[in-house]
Symmetry: C2
Subunit: 247 residues, 2 copies
């Protein structure tokens, strides 16, 4: 594999944190058959209702998962960054129950469904790693239910900014609580169940209160402690420590 995209290594390293892998396990990940494609900003990776034929690994850029309601409203359900499997679930469920769209220009590896299943079910250590990966996604969904269901606008926005910061840092894509938010205020609004107008006011207010600094799309969480409080944020649900005991 001479020209394998470097993000494959990042993904494998994340898997190793989930389950103890042997060298051959690592190779199994890296030798997955796939076709790599560049997707422009706003391009679709999966569409709700699609029959699953492949599983997408995000190699660069950002993406989000969403659903459209009968009234035409959009709810963003999750955010994804380089190194993440964007629709592993669909390989097992057969049909996509959400759409996934890129936020930025992105490179995506599409792995045939059969290869994913074979990898995932052929080896206990790998199964464990991938399973835990989907379970952490699941934990994030649960937290999002809480976020949009029971927090006020200020806490919702603060919470998502904290989550994004933590996840970016865990992935090695940011540090010191400074990062480029790869989405518009409208998309942010659709992620927290508010309107873009209101999100704008909340961001302004968080700035005035000295919790964040903004410059264009760059977010700097100046006061992490107070921001965590404002967002009722406790990173435990991210399971960044999700240990790797038995292989």
């Amino acid at each position: 594999m001479p020209d394998l995209h470097p993000t494959w290594d990042i993904m494998v390293r994340r898997m190793e944190r989930r389950s103890a892998l042997t060298e051959s396990d690592r190779q199994a990940f890296k030798s997955l058959p796939h076709s790599q494609r560049r997707v422009g900003p706003g391009g679709h990776i999966v569409r709700d209702g699609d029959k699953a034929e492949s599983c997408a690994l995000l190699l660069s850029g950002f993406a989000y998962r969403y659903k459209i309601t009968g009234e035409g409203g959009r709810q963003i359900i999750s955010l994804h960054m380089a190194g993440e499997f964007v629709d592993l679930q669909h390989s097992f469920l057969g049909t996509a129950d959400t759409s996934v769209q890129t936020l930025t220009e992105a490179e995506v590896a599409f792995i045939p469904k059969a290869a994913v299943e074979e990898l995932a079910l052929g080896n206990a250590a790998i199964a464990r790693a991938l399973w835990i990966d989907t379970l952490i996604d699941s934990s994030i969904f649960r937290e999002w239910v809480v976020n949009v269901g029971r927090r006020d606008s200020r806490a919702r926005v603060a919470h998502i900014l904290c989550e994004f910061s933590m996840r970016l840092e865990a992935a090695g894509l940011a540090k010191n609580h400074v990062y480029e938010l790869p989405m518009t205020q409208e998309q942010l609004a659709d992620a927290v169940g508010l309107t873009s107008v209101h999100v704008n006011r909340v961001l302004k207010q968080l700035g005035e209160a000295g919790l964040i600094d903004r410059d264009k799309r760059t977010i700097c969480i100046v006061d992490w402690k107070r921001m965590r409080e404002a967002g009722d944020f406790n990173e435990r649900y991210l399971h960044h420590d999700a240990a790797a005991p038995a292989a």
Copy 2:
């Protein structure tokens, strides 16, 4: 296994819909070591933050998963009925990230974490079945994010009533869209991100509009078609068809 609770069979039958099982696979499920306990209404099965030591299978009754926010608000994140694993994820994640409480008197089988892991990772067909089970849970979480994030009060309540009806029927616990709702309006409110007062008004309105009939806690969805519309409900996300191809 002379006196195994009959719900074990129901659970195994659900697993068979997810993945083709052999007789020995079925036996593996049914011979899981476990301790069975009766839990009174409102009793806790798991508490947020608990170190996972076992995995709970609900043998009878109803339960719900929830989180408490810093402000003291409660968000109910999922509902569970007999035959469902209530916290399979915790066995793999190590720590509970939500609490689970019974709605009614319930019988619960606690299976040691190690036994679950061994079962789940020791055999591809079983791994597949259990994994799909957790992925469907995950799909329901996604739908709930949409429900609380982007639907108005009427649709939220109608949606959850539709979901519960469908799931009960799929589990063989109800038919003809008539069922006993095992929760108070306050709990219903915490599941849809509203207040109990408002849920009460919405229920009344759905009754007056001829979509449902209520008698105490018994819900009868009189006009399923209009109710689906009102709740923007499309059962696809429940993946009740989630087929079982390769074993």
